[in-house]
């Protein structure tokens, strides 16, 4: 179906850039389904290997006083004594119907936990990612321009140092300095204790520190990548040609070198997303934000399988989608990349 287009004028070519998008999306879905199936199976197997008895977990302290018959009745009601494949099929069937199960640590449906909290995590990750991208492109390009200069060396030293700092440690240090010693910004939470609603200005003030900490902890990887990529492309022929034509340095740097360097950057953002999510979990814990991270930790402490499985699977779906989006963006930005071959 993909007949080779004859080399016609530029408008035709431009139109064909995303020609294969449908095929790619379909192919990616074909891969994503086995990936999700394998992930869910692996998690289910781990959950089944867990030494926790869901009936006793449900009963809590009452487990000591209830009779063995009651516990057995509970197990029979839930079907936890059924063979594993049967249990797995039932669980997946429920997932597909939108029933994510009952969170044993929060005592509410998993869907409502996700609905109430996913937004805050997305906000945190989204703003931090935007900040990281802008800052790393700017700093990395400047460092690459004078490679080996003092700014380059300082930036790289700082980047390597920050890379080895646990994000929660940075968070605690920032709280100690800016919130407790200087008292500029709140130490945690999403709103003031006295606030009744979520006033945007109040929330923004509470998000300054968490977003900055998450951005700082993720930035080194991006900064170093941009710096290396721009330094590489500064030696390309077309950049040399632009210089030879006498274009001003700034135009060459941002208009020519940076543009070519940014393309591979796009796909790498997608692959780095899982790291960002992990960082968000830790940042939310440090700053007591009501996002998915804190819930995940709580669920882990209580061995809450339905909630943990749902958050992990949901994050996987988001990451896979983001990877697809960056690939499509890559194809849209780079005319050399053809999706349909």
């Amino acid at each position: 179906m993909t007949t080779k287009a004859p080399p016609t004028g530029p408008p035709r070519v431009r139109r064909r850039r995303l020609a294969g998008a449908g095929v790619v999306i379909r192919r990616r879905l074909l891969v994503a389904v086995p990936v999700l199936a394998a992930t869910s199976m692996g998690m289910f197997a781990l959950g089944a290997a867990s030494p926790i008895d869901p009936a006793q977990q449900y009963a809590g302290a009452a487990a000591f006083t209830t009779t063995e018959e009651n516990l057995a009745q509970l197990r029979a009601n839930w079907g936890v004594d059924d063979p594993l494949p049967v249990q797995y099929a039932r669980w997946v069937g429920n997932l597909l119907r939108g029933d994510l199960g009952w969170s044993t640590s929060r005592h509410e449906p998993v869907t409502s936990v996700l609905a109430a909290r996913a937004g805050w995590t997305l906000l945190l990750v989204g703003v931090a990612l935007a900040l990281v991208l802008v800052a790393s492109v700017l700093l990395g390009t400047l460092a690459a321009y004078r490679r080996g200069g003092w700014f380059d060396r300082a930036l790289r030293s700082v980047a390597y140092a920050v890379q080895s700092m646990p994000v929660f440690w940075i968070g605690l240090a920032v709280i100690a300095l800016f919130a407790l010693t200087l008292g500029w910004l709140p130490a945690g939470g999403l709103t003031d204790l006295t606030a009744t609603g979520t006033d945007p200005a109040d929330v923004a003030r509470h998000l300054v520190l968490p977003v900055t900490v998450l951005a700082i902890s993720q930035a080194p990887w991006f900064v170093l990548f941009v710096r290396d990529a721009v330094a590489e492309s500064l030696r390309d022929d077309h950049v040399l040609a632009a210089r030879a034509r006498g274009l001003p340095g700034r135009t060459v740097l941002f208009g020519h070198a940076l543009r070519t360097a940014l393309l591979p950057f796009l796909t790498l953002v997608g692959t780095h997303l899982p790291e960002l999510v992990g960082g968000a979990v830790l940042v939310e814990t440090v700053f007591s934000l009501p996002g998915l991270g804190a819930v995940t930790v709580q669920a882990a402490l209580g061995a809450d399988f339905p909630l943990l499985a749902a958050t992990t699977l949901a994050t996987t779906v988001v990451v896979l989608t983001a990877n697809l989006a960056t690939d499509l963006g890559y194809a849209a930005a780079d005319p050399r990349v053809r999706l349909d071959d």
Binding site: A38, L46, P166, L172, A176, A303, L308, T312
Partner: protein
């Protein structure tokens, strides 16, 4: 000076117009031509190194010695609770102050470093064994098995590995074994990829063909010809993994999902210190973290240098 390589005086200078294949001089038997293979010995690393590398080696040595000798150097008991001296600021008596139970923070940081580094190293070894086996099977068997295994690797790589680690610990219940399993099961991917690609590129090399046509069996080729080439790579991958394993353990312990409280790892200490932090005693959390950052940074700088020596092509890539 466009001379290709500083050849020893005994080898005749090649005629200038000859094609490369005919200029191959007979190897001088007595004096072997100086091989430009980068040396991997620590002393060479240090001698040619930048001051940062020497500093890193010094810091690492000091930390390891202090960790090993801590029980001899400080007669204090690291777990001794002294409720009369809680949250003392740093002073000559307690170099890094005391925590909310009156324990000496500096001493506990040393013990914590011990636990963290040990757990990290063990977990990195386990991860290397898993990754090495998977990579070896994929690289030697090839075909459908290779594709299936690599698909598994790609799948796990797409998951947020901290979430996966939390999930594993949650299901196995927090304990030493669960933490090691959590680190190993999320960190073996890169090793598997390295071993596989190394084996794939080695398989088509002439010396393997020579060994096979010389009658070497599959096992002999694997152990005598392939393994020696893969081992340095594997050792490097393991060392590079140790800081990551330590960070993973620290994160789990900080969340309260890691090592049991009686094993004072750095993560546990930072978690404990959070209570003191809110009352202004910042040292209980910040000092242990600082110790960890210093040591892992030194470790990462050294291994990064080692990798540069082993494979100059990836120098442009990121360290760590």
């Amino acid at each position: 000076m466009t001379d290709p390589a500083p050849a020893p005086a005994t080898t005749p200078a090649p005629p200038s117009a000859a094609t490369p294949t005919t200029t191959m001089p007979a190897p001088a038997p007595a004096t072997r031509p100086a091989r430009r293979r980068p040396s991997r010995r620590l002393s060479t690393l240090l001698r040619g190194g930048r001051p940062g590398v020497v500093l890193a080696a010094g810091v690492l040595t000091a930390a390891v010695v202090a960790c090993l000798l801590a029980p001899l150097l400080w007669p204090l008991d690291q777990s001794a609770v002294d409720l009369a001296r809680t949250r003392l600021a740093p002073s000559p008596d307690h170099l890094a102050g005391t925590d909310d139970l009156g324990r000496d923070v500096a001493l506990r940081s040393l013990y914590g470093l011990r636990v963290s580094l040990l757990v990290g190293a063990v977990a990195a070894l386990v991860a290397t064994v898993i990754g090495g086996l998977v990579g070896a099977v994929a690289g030697t068997v090839g075909g459908r098995v290779d594709r299936a295994l690599m698909r598994v690797v790609d799948t796990i790589a797409a998951l947020p590995h901290l979430l996966l680690g939390i999930f594993i610990v949650a299901m196995l219940r927090p304990s030493l074994g669960a933490v090691v399993a959590s680190i190993a099961l999320t960190h073996w991917l890169s090793t598997a990829r390295i071993v596989r690609s190394e084996l794939l590129s080695l398989r088509s090399r002439p010396f393997i063909d020579a060994a096979v046509s010389g009658g070497a069996g599959r096992a002999r080729v694997l152990t005598r010809h392939l393994l020696p080439h893969v081992l340095p790579r594997l050792a490097l991958a393991t060392t590079l993994m140790v800081p990551h394993a330590v960070w993973h353990e620290t994160a789990l312990s900080f969340l309260g999902l890691g090592l049991p409280p009686h094993l004072a790892s750095i993560g546990n200490m930072i978690n404990d210190g959070q209570r003191s932090l809110l009352t202004g005693a910042w040292w209980a959390s910040i000092v242990p973290g600082l110790a960890l950052v210093t040591v892992t940074l030194a470790l990462a700088a050294l291994t990064g240098r080692w990798r540069d020596r082993l494979d100059p092509r990836v120098r442009a890539e990121l360290q760590l």
